[in-house]
Every structure is written in structure tokens, then in C-alpha cells.
Point group: C2
Chain length 996, copies 2
């Protein structure tokens, strides 16, 4: 008999087959769920004991209302091992065909510097961090984001930029919305003019967004539009435009501005290295995609959009902005600035519904600029432009027509006759080349990018029936259509800041990236229990597929026969998500949770319109809702009516019924979060849904808390009509320091016809009979398609049983922590059995005698090596803790230890043992600088400051990148580009001489 003691192995769920009778099949060795779920079997037992329940199942039954609990195992495939998964991914990837892409239209192949791929995109130190809510432990990525903003302001010539938007097309819609917001008197129909030569997918999103906002969009020729149109709030031109033309819009900008409208410019960062920037023409707004700065095509995303404005518009700019402020030691520090514009504060009055954006992609683009610098970017542009000149010359020589005028990288070519056109299409196919096909007869588009080699050009010239490169290059006249020495040529410097000049070698860049990384806390250090954010494991196996060229190098508008691998994967993920949620159809187009909300509400509106209920425009939103809910409702043209919650955290059904009665004619929908944002499974959810339905309303269920439900209950089965899922929460897409995200929406069958469509390439679900897409919400048909394999892989690796276990352990972990902490902090909102869902709220509102607030606790947690929980949301001055299933008991205990120790520190103040002002909490976080300084004049010891618990040894110590940041100062003194290297303190920034 085998004697390797089972007791020493006891913690595992592995079967020891022969010794326990022969199993039916070979034992499964590599059970991925053991890697994903933190606690092992013994720890689960221990924790259950603490909670006084027998089993996970009992806990579930005492937590999830009986009438929604689903007993049936999920019908998803059996778990794969990581190796099987890798093999499967290879097979699927092989079904995608990677062509060379000259389609352009906002997506260009890029040489992604391998050093950036390895050290950022494939480095969990970068990709597992959250949006920089805790500024002091996020200084590294905020420095990188401010590099991004500086790059954008430099390139566009406009002084204020944000830290990314979701994609170029949503940025276009944001520009429109900004123009609309900026309009003083809105008596006349607000009108927005869009030049016809903007990218069709941008127009698509603008049209959708405008129609629900009540803005009239006029699409036409910029030359013939009447800029005196009453109610004109803004105009949009593209530079270079969708057909590649470089146009001087100066007089039209002036005309629009004379009519109090704003002028917005869709533009291209690479072109702006050679072209006079929008700011110098007088544009008020510029935006575009930063994709071609070192981010792969990825079948459409994720990519960072950029957005910049004139100084006067700084408080209207949508999205997150990183600003410079001072910290408690008077040093410079970065933080999220001007947050009062945002949804989490302004709710339905916010400048946008943006929460998750594209931080990781913005960081990649910024590093690309840092690595190349002005001269490198210019050279890349020059090569692209020269190549385009060659193609233009070749095309003309081959007898094709190209309009006169300047271009940068894109040519619209009318092929000389039908035969030549057919030949060109066939030859392109043969040479594995994708070009743009216009609806106009015999017309194609070609956009070049930095990956183009001489051989690629020869292939293109062959397709055009033109002479070869060698022949053309020698004969080219500098002026032929080119922009060099033209009036468009850029004369202003850019990227002159040392950051864009000091990291040219791979060693320098690697060290810079790692230096920034070292300042930040991510999941590679310790748990990040941000309530409502689900910071679970982002497993390597889930992430590796996105590095494969067969996924990364696909153009979003590539023909269907080249993207069969993506189709298969999207279909499988679609079906799995339907099974998990109980919905009948899913759209992957929304590229954030907030975007999903917006899309879901539009589906509701389109459906109601379809059934003759288009007048319904009231959206009930509980006070506890996430800020994106009211902000999205407003974007969808709905009026928000707030509904109350009961003192125990449950939705006030009485108030609901009252509001339903009151608005019964115009009730469009309710937006609820389930389990609620208070972290409880409300028992009356079925009833609530039925009530809303009985008043003709629809139920939008915010799926941000899906991690409490997978395998246990299904929104689509207990009454909701539509939900978004945050794949970047429940389904393992890493948060990237503030994005990317994917916010697909699941809908019941009656809403299924009304999913987002696409101007260029309709997604499969909208090509079904009966489909009546309401419009478009993102630039690409499937949104951020490149990262869908992550969620797909998670589902495949886990399988039905482990998916349920993960949820149960997520609930267990939360309840275990709540139990340990309840003697020290009041726990708000548990159900009648005393259990919370997957997260819970610590009441930190009142410590009589100690002037301690929630922020003090969050900052003090940094001294213990931890990222604080979500602060002041959904209840002001409380902490919301969501541990997730991926954290083991030891880690949960350490976090509890820290919170308990902090409670004692507060008690010491309350008891008069510690100074009411000069104490460890108020002075937190303590920097390495202060703790290692020669003088130490605090009334507590250095040890108390830096190592308050015994396991917190020097080798585990994490130091904040700054002392506590000064929020008020930062909001008053907006500075959101790279500070001069010489600036050591804020006063240097205030001194214009240093600034120049």
C-alpha cells in the first residue's frame, strides 16, 4: 500500500486513483481550478467552520434566495488542462488568415516593439493593476499616462488631453457630445455637422449617439455646408480624411466658430509628425486612435483613443485625466484630476459615462513614443509617406486616377477600367493583400503603414499593374502629391521633453518601464479587494493566446473567410455566456461596462420603439447605483428617476411601486445591480422584475457583480431583460491599470433583434433574419475582440463544476473576512441569515474621538503593503471589500490582520494614547524617504510607521511612490502634461521660468 501519507497531501482535491479503486478514466492531473481558486480544500473547511456552516452548499443556500438558485449544472464543456487549451487555441488560431492590410480606415499594422510587449503587455506587474484610485501606489503608471497625455498635446497642438477613450469612433461621439454640452441656449434644434469624409464607423457611432441625445446630425461636404445654420453646436472634419486627403479647413473652422460652434478634428498621430497640427489651425477639439503607435490591430481592439481640447474646455473633456499635484511632503505627485466631471460624482450630469478606458494601450502607445522620440516617429512617417508617394506615382503611371492634392499615407484610387479592377482584386487575393473596397465603381483605397517593406510595395504595385519600386523611386519628383515642402508641413517641435529623448536603447527603455512598475501595487504583490471590481486571477494561460499573430494581426474589416478562427471563438464564448447568464443572445461590441449599459439601454429603447412604446423615457435608478448607470441612462436619452433603498440596503419595493405608478405611462426601465451594490442578494428580485414588467418597463440588470452568480443563478432566468457583463471583472480580463475592458450585453430573445450593428461590417448576430440593429456603439464590429480569448479560455479551463465552486468560494471569502472583521468594524448590509454576497461594506463612518476618515484607513493600508478597498462607494465614508475566490486564506488573514491592527491604531487615538493629528493614520502612507530620513520627529516610532505587523518584514515591504496626494490642490491647479525634469516641487511648476 502506498504510504506517502495522505495527510501531507490532504489539502488537495487530487484523486489517488489506484489506491482508491480504479477510476473510469485516467486521472485528470492538471486541474486548473486549483490554480485559479485560492483556498485549498482544508482552508475551505476551516473557513466554513468559522462561519458555522457545514458546506459550501449550505452557505450558498443561506445566501442566494431559493427562488433564483439554479440547481442544474452549467452546460459548458468539461474543463481542459492548460496544455489542452494551448493546443485548442492553436487550432482555432490557424483558422484565421493573416493578410497584409492596406485597408486603413483607422487601423494600421504596427511594429510593436518587442521590449514593450514583453515588459508591459505581457508583464502582470503592469496589466494586473487597477485604475489609479490609490494615487500613492500608482505613481508609475500615472507617469506613463501623463506621458501619453503629453504626447497627445504635443502632436495635436492642443493643451489638454485625457488619458484615453475607448476608441476613435466613441471619441468622435464624445466630441459631438462635448459640442452639444458646450452650447449655451438649446432652444433651436442642436445641430452637428459631420464632413462626409470621416471614417464610416465614426459616423455610425455619432449618428447613434446623437439620435438619442436629440442632436441633429448633418452629413455633407464641408465646402458646401452652411455654417450659419441655427443651432449649430459643432462641426467635425477629418485630417487627413477618410479618403486620404489633407485639407486646410481654416476658413470653415472660422465660419463655424463665428456661429458659436466648436470645431473638432479627427486626426492621425503619425501624420501629425509631418503635418501642421489641428491646434495651429484653430480647432477646439482633436481626437483619434493611438493604435498605430505600437499596438496590434487585434481585429479591432483594444486600442486607446486620444482626445485633446483647448484650455477653455478642460472641464468639459470626457474621460479620466492624470494631473500633477503636490503630496504631503510637498513633492510632485500624480493623481486622477478633475474627477468632479465624472460619472461617479456627477452621475447623470457627468461629461461622459467613461469608467474603464484603455490605460494599458495608452501606456503602450506612450512608450512607443518614448522609445522612438520625435526623430524616430518622423522617420517612420517619412517612410510611410514616401512609400505612399511611390504607390501614387505607380498608380498614375498605370493609368489609374487619383485626385490631385496632398496625402499622407492613404490613396483613393479609381482603377482605369473594369478589367484592371477585377485583376487588381484577384491579384491582391493571390498575394495575400487586403485593400479597401469602395462602393463606388472600380474604386479602391490603399493605406500604408510602418511595416511596409520594398517587397510589400512591389507586391502592391504588381496588384496595380504598375512599375516596380526601383523604377519609380528614382524618378519621383519631390512634389508629386507629397506633403513635404507643402503648406501643410509641420513647423513646430514636438516631444521635446526629456522623457521622449532619454530612452532610445533597449536597456534604457527596459529600465524605465521597470522603474515605473516598481512604484506601483498590482496583483503580483498582494490582494486588491476593490469592491465591485473583482480583482481575481488573470491567469497566464488565459492571456497567452492574445500574443499570437493569428489573433493580433487581423484587421477589423478583413473579409469573413480570413476570420473564421475569431468567429468560432466568439461563437463559443457567446454560447457559454448565454448559458451562464440565461440570456438568449450576446453582443460583444461594447468595450467597457459603461458602454454595455448604454448599448443595453438602447436595445430597450429600440425594442420599445418597435412595439409602439417609443415615448417611454423614464429610467428608475436606485440611489446605490454605480455612477455609470445614470450617466448611461442620460446618454440613452432617458430621464433618471432615483429610487430609494431601505435602511437594510434592500431596494424599497414600496418606493418602486410608487414611482412605477407615478411614471407608468412613460416608464422605460429600471437599472438594478444584482447582487446589489451593497453586496447582498436581495430576496425580492423576481418580484421586482415582475413589478417592472407589469408596468410595461424593462429590467436592466448591471452585471458587474456577476462573480457572485456564475453557476448559481442566472439574471436571464429570474426576470432581467438585459445585462452587461464586465469581462474584465468576472471573466478574467486583467484591468490593465484602467482598461481595457469588454462589456458585452446579454439580452432575452425579445431584445435580440435590437443589438448593435456596424456601418462597415455587420456583426454576425445582426445578420440574422429579423435583426433590426439600433445603430452602433463602438468603432469595431466586435469591440475589443483581441481580448475575448481571455474570457473564452477561462470558461474552457474551469468547466461547469469549478465555475460554480469559484462563485461559492468568492462568497465564502467575503463572508469569512466579514466574520473576522465584524468584531472590529460594523458590517453593513447582510441578509437575514447574516451572510453577504461576494463583497461587503465596512462601516468606517464614525470613530468618536478620532478624526479618522475612510481615506485615512485606505492610505494606512498602503503602509501594510495593501491596496485599499473601494472607498466611499456605494456608501460615503465606508469601505467595500471584495476579496474574490482567487485569494487564499493566508492572504485574507493578512488583510484582516491589517484592518484589525488599524482599528487598534484608531482606538489608540480614541483613547488618547495617540496624537489626534500627528498619528500613523493621518500621516499615512509613510514614504521610504520619511522613514529613512535622518530626522524623525513623529510621536510614534519608525517601526510603527513602516512595519506595524510582525509578518511585514523588509523583504515584504512595499513603499508608496509618494506621500499622500493633495486632491484639492490638484483640482485647483490643473497641470496635466509631463512636468519639467528640473521640477522637484510644485512651486517649481508654478514658476513659469521652470515651466518654459
Amino acid at each position: 500500500q502506498h504510504i506517502c501519507k495522505k495527510s501531507t497531501f490532504g489539502l488537495s482535491k487530487l484523486t489517488n486513483s489506484l489506491s482508491s479503486g480504479k477510476p473510469d478514466t485516467l486521472p485528470i492531473i492538471e486541474d486548473f481550478s486549483r490554480r485559479h481558486i485560492g483556498p485549498n480544500a482544508a482552508e475551505v473547511e476551516e473557513m466554513l467552520k468559522v462561519l458555522g456552516v457545514e458546506s459550501l452548499d449550505e452557505l450558498t443556500r443561506k445566501t442566494v434566495p431559493e427562488d433564483i438558485l439554479d440547481e442544474r449544472p452549467l452546460k459548458v464543456s468539461a474543463p481542459m488542462s492548460e496544455l489542452e487549451l494551448a493546443r485548442r487555441v492553436n487550432k482555432i488560431a490557424a483558422k484565421n488568415k493573416v493578410f497584409r492590410n492596406y485597408i486603413g480606415m483607422g487601423y494600421y499594422d504596427s511594429k510593436v516593439p518587442p521590449v514593450i510587449v514583453r515588459n508591459i503587455l505581457e508583464n502582470p506587474g503592469w496589466y494586473t493593476s487597477y485604475t489609479p484610485y490609490q494615487a500613492e501606489i500608482a505613481q508609475g503608471r500615472m507617469e506613463s499616462l501623463i506621458n501619453f497625455q503629453t504626447m497627445v498635446t504635443d502632436m495635436t497642438g492642443l493643451p489638454i488631453a485625457n488619458a484615453s477613450l475607448l476608441d476613435e469612433a466613441t471619441a468622435a461621439a464624445e466630441a459631438m457630445a462635448l459640442c452639444y454640452r458646450n452650447m449655451k441656449k438649446k432652444q433651436v434644434t442642436p445641430t452637428f455637422f459631420v464632413d462626409q469624409a470621416v471614417f464610416p464607423q465614426s459616423l455610425g457611432v455619432i449618428l447613434t449617439r446623437a439620435s438619442f441625445l436629440g442632436v441633429k446630425v448633418v452629413v455633407g461636404d464641408y465646402k458646401s455646408f452652411d455654417y450659419n445654420t441655427p443651432g449649430l453646436c459643432g462641426v467635425l472634419f477629418q485630417y487627413p480624411n477618410s479618403d486620404g486627403k489633407v485639407i486646410d479647413y481654416t476658413e470653415y473652422i472660422k465660419a463655424a466658430q463665428a456661429n458659436k460652434a466648436l470645431a473638432a478634428c479627427a486626426t492621425d498621430l503619425l501624420a501629425l509628425t509631418m503635418l501642421k497640427p489641428p491646434g495651429e489651425y484653430g480647432f477646439d477639439v482633436a481626437f483619434g486612435s493611438a493604435q498605430r503607435f505600437g499596438v496590434p490591430l487585434g481585429y479591432g481592439g483594444p486600442h486607446a483613443a486620444f482626445f485633446s481640447v483647448k484650455k477653455s474646455l478642460q472641464r468639459s473633456i470626457p474621460g479620466r485625466i492624470i494631473g500633477v499635484t503636490k503630496d504631503a511632503d510637498n513633492g510632485l505627485a500624480y493623481r486622477l484630476t478633475l474627477q468632479t466631471r465624472e460619472q461617479h460624482i456627477k452621475r447623470n450630469k457627468a461629461t461622459s459615462n467613461i469608467c474603464t478606458a484603455q490605460a494599458l494601450l495608452a501606456n503602450m502607445a506612450a512608450m512607443y513614443a518614448v522609445y522612438h522620440g520625435a526623430e524616430g516617429l518622423y522617420s517612420i512617417a517619412e517612410k510611410v509617406h514616401h512609400s505612399t508617394c511611390i504607390v501614387a506615382e505607380g498608380a498614375r503611371r498605370a493609368g489609374h486616377h487619383i485626385d490631385e492634392g496632398a496625402f499622407f499615407d492613404t490613396l483613393k484610387i479609381k482603377i482605369r477600367n473594369d478589367q484592371a479592377y477585377q485583376d487588381a482584386l484577384i491579384n491582391a487575393e493571390i498575394r495575400h493583400i487586403n485593400i479597401r473596397k469602395y462602393d463606388e465603381p472600380n474604386t479602391i483605397g490603399i493605406s500604408l503603414d510602418e511595416t511596409v517593406t520594398s517587397e510589400d510595395l512591389d507586391d502592391l504595385l504588381f496588384v496595380l499593374g504598375a512599375p516596380s519600386v526601383a523604377n519609380l523611386w528614382q524618378q519621383l519628383k519631390p512634389k508629386d502629391g507629397g506633403i513635404l515642402r507643402s503648406k501643410f508641413e509641420r513647423t513646430s517641435d514636438f516631444l521635446t521633453h526629456p522623457t521622449f529623448n532619454n530612452y532610445r536603447s533597449e536597456h534604457q527603455l527596459t529600465r524605465y518601464i521597470r522603474y515605473l512598475e516598481k512604484k506601483d501595487v498590482s496583483l503580483v504583490h498582494s490582494m486588491i479587494p476593490l469592491g465591485s471590481c473583482t480583482m481575481k486571477l488573470n491567469a497566464t494561460s488565459e492571456l497567452t493566446p492574445i500574443s499570437k499573430p493569428e489573433f493580433a494581426n487581423i484587421h477589423p474589416f478583413a473579409p469573413a473567410y480570413q476570420t473564421q478562427g475569431f468567429f468560432q471563438l466568439i461563437k463559443e464564448l457567446h454560447d457559454d455566456l448565454c448559458e451562464v447568464t440565461g440570456y438568449d443572445a450576446v453582443s460583444f461590441q461594447p468595450n467597457s461596462g459603461a458602454q454595455g449599459e448604454y448599448a443595453g439601454l438602447l436595445a430597450i429603447r429600440a425594442y420599445q420603439h418597435d412595439i409602439g412604446q417609443g415615448h417611454r423615457n423614464i429610467c428608475l435608478v436606485p440611489v446605490s447605483a454605480h455612477g455609470t448607470n445614470p450617466a448611461s441612462a442620460q446618454m440613452a436619452g432617458l430621464s433618471v428617476v432615483v429610487v430609494k433603498t431601505l435602511p437594510n440596503g434592500e431596494i424599497d419595493m414600496k418606493d418602486i411601486i410608487e414611482k412605477c405608478e407615478k411614471y407608468k405611462d412613460n416608464l422605460s426601465c429600471i437599472m438594478i445591480t444584482y447582487p446589489s451594490t451593497y453586496g447582498v442578494f436581495e430576496p425580492a428580485v423576481r418580484e421586482l422584475c415582475e413589478t417592472i414588467h407589469s408596468y410595461g418597463g424593462q429590467v436592466y440588470l448591471d452585471g458587474a457583480n456577476m462573480n457572485a452568480m456564475v453557476g448559481l443563478c442566472k439574471p436571464g432566468k429570474f426576470g432581467a431583460d438585459v445585462s452587461h457583463l464586465n469581462l474584465h471583472k468576472t471573466f478574467c480580463i486583467p484591468h490593465g491599470g484602467g482598461g481595457p475592458g469588454v462589456g458585452p450585453i446579454g439580452v432575452k430573445s425579445h431584445l435580440a433583434p435590437f443589438l448593435p450593428g456596424h456601418e462597415v461590417l455587420p456583426p454576425i448576430e445582426t445578420t440574422q433574419p429579423g435583426a433590426r440593429p439600433f445603430g452602433q456603439v463602438s468603432a469595431a464590429p466586435y469591440g475589443s475582440a483581441l481580448i475575448l480569448p481571455i474570457s473564452w479560455a477561462y470558461l474552457k479551463l474551469m468547466g461547469p463544476t469549478a465555475l460554480r465552486s469559484a462563485t461559492e468560494v468568492a462568497i465564502l471569502n467575503a463572508n469569512y473576512m466579514a466574520k473576522r472583521l465584524e468584531k472590529h468594524y460594523p458590517i453593513m448590509f447582510r441578509n437575514e441569515n447574516g451572510f453577504c454576497a461576494h463583497e461587503f461594506i465596512l462601516d468606517t463612518r464614525s470613530f468618536p474621538g478620532a478624526n479618522v476618515g475612510v481615506m485615512d484607513i485606505a492610505k494606512r493600508l498602503q503602509d501594510y503593503g495593501f491596496h485599499g478597498p473601494t472607498t466611499s462607494w456605494p456608501v460615503v465614508n465606508t469601505l467595500m471589500v471584495e476579496p474574490t475566490e482567487s485569494e487564499d486564506k493566508a492572504e485574507l488573514d493578512r488583510y484582516c490582520d491589517a484592518l484589525i491592527s488599524i482599528r487598534q491604531e484608531i482606538q489608540d487615538i480614541q483613547d488618547g494614547k495617540a496624537d489626534p493629528v500627528n498619528n500613523v493614520l493621518k500621516n499615512a502612507p509613510h514614504t521610504m524617504e520619511s522613514v529613512t530620513a535622518d530626522t524623525w520627529d513623529r510621536p510614534y516610532s519608525r517601526k510603527q510607521a513602516a512595519y506595524p505587523l510582525s509578518w511585514l518584514t523588509t523583504s515584504k515591504k512595499i513603499w508608496p511612490g509618494s506621500a499622500r496626494v493633495d486632491d484639492a490642490y490638484g483640482d485647483q491647479n490643473v497641470f496635466c502634461t509631463c512636468p519639467p525634469l528640473e521640477a522637484y516641487s510644485i512651486s517649481d511648476l508654478e514658476n513659469p521660468e521652470v515651466l518654459q
Copy 2:
């Protein structure tokens, strides 16, 4: 005209084509050499100015002797961009065919955990560090290596293990050599018995090694060998053996030991989870390969071999050992222990010539064990074993023969008849399966591994003409050939230390890996100017190819038609290296520099034997030679005669001539390093080579300093006959914290027939007509083939011009630093023009009035965030600095600043301004613990301790992982497995209760 000011772009070498007239071709944008070479053009100018020379060319002419300087540009291909390289790699990779491998023979497919791949193998924080010479900033990887050692001692049941050897076959040869060294009286011919069923490649290396050592090897059947043979020094059995049999050797071990011989056991880590370990049978030595613990096949390497011995042999064990010692603060710390056994101290009396080993691979294997733990490894073994039982049952049912007796994962199967044998071979081919083919009629071998699925088994059973898995599994009797419940079954526990039990989830393992990484200094932090080590950039583009399955998943004995990609790549690298070195042929088999020396010397010996000069056995070695040189010479059976150097560092030609005269009849060769280990190009190198040749000797030129010669001069052209190259220095393979390495040898044509061969699969170069391979030096035909793409990529990315520039800048950087430092420290050894080669020696031997030694300076550099230079080699108490071309001027300046500041600190002691004992140097490095402690009682400030220079801010600060380690203590108290977690100080270790 384009106005983006050239001045701001001025530092770049980019051509701005149109503005400076049209170039012949499209401008090359992505010039990789700009990324590889640190300083930009302006910095080069500045540094040249400091040196008082006009150009790099002038510097070269003043540094490299005229009679060896080569003006002709290298004939290597034009530089590729990183993207072109990636495309080229894909094409080459596609020529390799990945079959499923059941060949076994020491190489098994493994599920490499993705979390380990991403966080170690693909993480420069791990792979760019050096051998842990500076213990205080290498605690992380030493903890991992001690995990490796603990794993080995646990699995083998022998208490002392080293931190890896080069591969299993060299480990076998080391075992033989250890037995030989252990022999008391060597009058009788020393004899070593090897059982015939060890792996053929192990036997190959043993035979080669033994023949030059003068040990007689008897190969035979362990049952019939006469263990009383006089002169018997050792015996070697394999367990399980090469044919898969598990045999109890107890009585033969006893018989050998009764004759004062040692008993060594080649074994398998996975098998030992189920099998009674070698130590429990009484073996003295155990060794094997750790490859199947999470390291890819890689066409043969790199993999870590393991080696363990009884306590009594601890001072005879070859290779590096990590031990536990105490630090200056009385804490536990790791260090390289028992170094006095090693080549750098014992030279030709050393236990081996090992310098670079396989640290990175040992770390991967250790982490694999940490991640799986005992129960996981056991389950893997169980699956493998059960699968093998099924195949055995199937084979027998199909009428094939398998010998009776126990097996683990390997079966030797005699197929029932010729027809069935032919069918099996063809069907294997069709199903993409590789099996072992024995020379015996109709005999095949099958070895299973953890990647095997039920479908794989069905394929194998199909090949055997046997029933399917489902049929077999149900009917299997537990006893059928299996080891469970047999007398072989393991009863002892293993991997009980908490480290092997605390990191089962991916979060836990990720955090553990990152926690260790954080303690160490690598190239991602700052320059590591270790003289003679060439710590240049290891570019990501060079490293990405090795992650491709088409390279990683190839078995070393796969048939040639499956490995055409490798052949192409090896051929191209071969030709490029011939061109760069001036040699006529290259062998890639040696997997370290030292192994290359040994192989090169054997080539010389074989050649001399061939021309009737086999008696020549004297090897001249300059006093300044690297320790591996004399150690290798001894292994090659040569007698080392030391030759002197002149006070100016040059070889003493007079002494050479004298020694040549004295030994003229028996002079075999000289081993020189060029430029010399003193960092100078000696002018008389041609003359020296001619002199040696005139006495019938051969010239071995140690190519460790090739980084000073690439593109400037060629050893093969100025008189050397053979050299090894350290691809892990000059050719960009990262050092991995102490390996892997590749030490190919280049030879002139007369030596080309005498390159290493291989018992199983002769390398191409030994299949040429006239080839007479001298034997075998490594386990795999092409050594560590998987990492050859790194060097190949470097050469392709750089091209002829940049390769030369890199060398020139390496020389420039060294001279620039020497110049800046010469006012502060004497610089030893420069040429008559005052220039050093690519490295230089700082004289730190005497600071009158200050009791400061070279170690104090090296440790103090850690406080400045730097890894010290090479200490006390080649001159005792000096520092040898090699900056390499990859460091920019700012980094060189920072390093100089640090050294200059330290010089001032020494001056302060000399001037009586600082305490002679209690000062920043003697107390260096200063730990975070001490600088943040509440009490500070040093006579200098915390700031002086931790931030002695203004640019050394907290965000740049690097803290050592321990205070200064106590070397003496560690050597006296050898403890080389994981210390108990409860042990906080060394006294705990001394307390047996804590230890148990």
C-alpha cells in the same frame, strides 16, 4: 524645407532622406543597433573628446595591434529589422516538425506551467542576472536554487546537492571523476564500471572523459561484473534503467563499496516520487536531469542536471552549491558555499571546471516542484505510470514481448514479427509519433510523460496494434508490471518543507516568484560591469524565438527530416561565427565556456594523436588565466605549466620561450586569453602563436573576450588554432543567474575532423568525410540547441557595420570609464597608447591608513544601486570593469560617480574623518532594516548610508536582500537545503530542535 529642427533630432543616426537628396532605397527606419548600442552619436563624440581621439576608428587603431586589425567588413548579411527577423524566424520554425515524443532516453515532454514561463523564463528580471557572486543582491535566486537543492536531496534521499550541472551525461562523467578522485591509492589502473543499460549518451561522455583521465571503463551487465576488480573506484547503475527496468541493486552496491568503490546512480526525479530513493539503497551519489520538471525539450537543452551525494562527499561534489550562512546582522542569508573546491580557486586541482551551469533551468525546475508539491508530482507520476501500465498491457495483448519486472514510464518492446514492426513504424509516422528504435531486431522503446492524454494513448495503442485505452483500463490488474504495492514503492515523505506546500494557486506562485525577483539586482535595474562576463543587452527580439513550440518541443533524437529548421539556423550561425572568428568549423556541442575549453583541448589532443604526437601532454597556462583553463586542461589529461606575465600585464615571451624549450618534446598547447584577462590587446600575439607552433604546439585561445574583437580581428586569422566562444557573453544569450551558456568551439581546418561526435545522433559536422570525432562532451548532439536562435538573431539584427561598431563602442565605453576614474584609482595595464581593450582593472589594493579591501568597495557599490565589478580576478584585491557597448554615457557616468564617491569615502577614513572600523564601507551594504530602524548608532547619517549621491533618490534606491554575508561561517557550517521557516537566525539552525 522641413523645419523640425535637426538639432533636437541631432543625436540620431537616422537619415532624413528627401531633405538630403533622395536615397537609393527606402530609408531603413528600425535600426536595431541603435537599441543595442547604448550611447548615441553625440555621446560617442563627447566620449571620444574626453579620450582625445578624433574617431572610433582612431581609437581602434590605437588599441588593436596593427598586424591583427582586419579592414575587411564582415561577410554577414545586412541587418534585419526586428519585424523582418520575426518573420524570418517563423519561416525557419515552420521547417521543424513537432511530433509527439515517446523516445525518452532522458528527454520527456513536460507541461511547462505558463506562470513559470511568463514570470521566469520570459522575465528579464530573472534571466538577465549573473551568477550570484554578490550574495547580498542575489538572495532571491539563491533561495530558489536552494529550493532546487532541497528538492534534489528529498527526491534522491542523499543529503547534499549542488545547484545544477550542465546535463545528465556530463553529470555522469562528473560522478565517474568524483569516484576517481575519491580513490585513495592510484597504483592500480583505476577502473569504473558502468552498467550497459545506462543512456548511451551518458556512456559516451563518460568514455570520453575517462579516456583522457586515465580511467578504465568497463561496460557490462551489473549482474556479472566482478566487483572485486582491483582498482575499482566506482560503479554506475541507472534506476530506472535506459530500458525502463526498475532494479534493486542493493547487493551490487554493497559489493562495490566493500571494495572501497563508490556507487553512483543515474536516476529520474519523477520516478522517485513513487520509487524508493537511491539514498535508501545505500548509493553514494545520485544524478540525473531535471528537464521533465517543467523545462521544454528544446532539441536537447538547456536543462539542469542534478547531483547529490552522501554527507562525507560534500567537499568532493562538483559544481556550485548554495549554502545558508549568517549575515552581519546575524540574520540568515544565502551564498555560494564551499567555493574552495572550485576552479577559480583550486584551478587544476578543482573538483571540476564548472563555472557557468544551468541556474535558470534549475530555478524553473524548482518552481515546478514548488507549484506541484509532493502530492501534485505524485499524481503526475501516477498518471504517467498508469498510462505505461496500459501500454504494456496493450502490447502484451497484441502479442509483443516485454520482459517481466517492474517499470515506471518506459517499455522496451519486442514487436511480435517483422510485419508488425514495419506496420508500427509506419503507423507511428502517420500519427506523428516518435518512438525509440533499438538496434536490436524489431525492438522499440516507448517512454511516456505527463503530457499524455487518453487520445495519445489510443494512438500509441493503434501503433502497437493493441486494443484501445477504454478496453484495457477496465481490465488492468494492479500488479501488472506496475510498481505500486511492489517492494520498490517509496515509503518516505518528500518536499515537506513549507515552501513546497504554500504556493499552489497561480496568485501565490506569481507573488512568490516576484517576491524573490525583487530581492535581486539584474540588468533591468542598472549596469553590471562584471569584467570578463560581458553583461550586454539581451534583447527581447533575440529571446522571443525560443518560446516557439517549433523550437521548444523538439526531441534531441528526433529524425533529421523533423529538424530542418534547426539545421538551417545552426548552419547559418555556424557560417556567421566562422566569418566572425576566422575559423573553419564550429561545434555547438559544449554547453558552457569551460566545456568548450575542454572540448577544444580534446580536439587538439585527438589531432596530435592522429599525427603521431599523442605523447604531447604539456599545457602552458599564463598565471592570469581564468580558473577554468587549468581545470579543463587537467580534465583533458594535460599537465599544466604556468607561464609568467610581465609587470605591464603582457605575457612574458621570454618565459614562454624558456618553457617551450624545456618542454619542447611534450608541448601540447598553450591556453591564452585575448585580449588578455588584464584587458589589453597584447601586441605580440602573432609572434606568440608562431612561437608555439614552431615548437609543435597548438594555440588554444579562450574566446571569453571576443566582445573586444568582433569585426576588428579574428583569432583564426592571427594564429590561434581553436577557441571557445561564450555565446552567453559576446553573443547575447542571457546569463540566467548562472547559466545557461553555450560554449561552441571554432577550429582551424586541421582540427576540424576532430570535433565532438555523439553516440546516438552524430552532429552534421561529424558526418563529413574525414571526420574522426574524439568522443562526446555533452548529452545532446548540439548541446543547448534551444538557445542558439538568440545568438543567431543578434548577428542577423546587427549586420556587418553594427557588429564592428558594437565592438568599438565596447572599447570606447571601457576607456571612457578608465579615463574618468584614473584620477581616483590607479588603472592597471593599458597599452603604450594608454588604452585598454573592452575592460580594465582598477587597482584597489592599497589605501594607506584605511583598512579597506576590494570587497568593501564592491559591497558599498550595492548601496549606490550597483552590482560590483569582478573582484580579485585576475589580480587579487582589484576590480575588473567591463561596461559593454550596451550602456549609455549617463549610466557609465553614474557608475563612475559612485566609484569616485566611494573613493572619497575611503579618503575620509584615510584622513581620519571617518571611523576606521565603523564606517560606510565596512558596514556596507546597508539594509532597509538597519536604515529604517528606530535606533541608529552609526557615526554617519542614514542619508550617507543609503543615499550618498544626489541622483540616488528613494525611487531609484535598490536595497540589498541581506547585510554582508559571512563567508567564513558558511564554509565552516555547511547547510545547503531550505532552512525551516521558523529559523530567523543562524542559531536556530544550530539548534537541532528547530531543524527537525
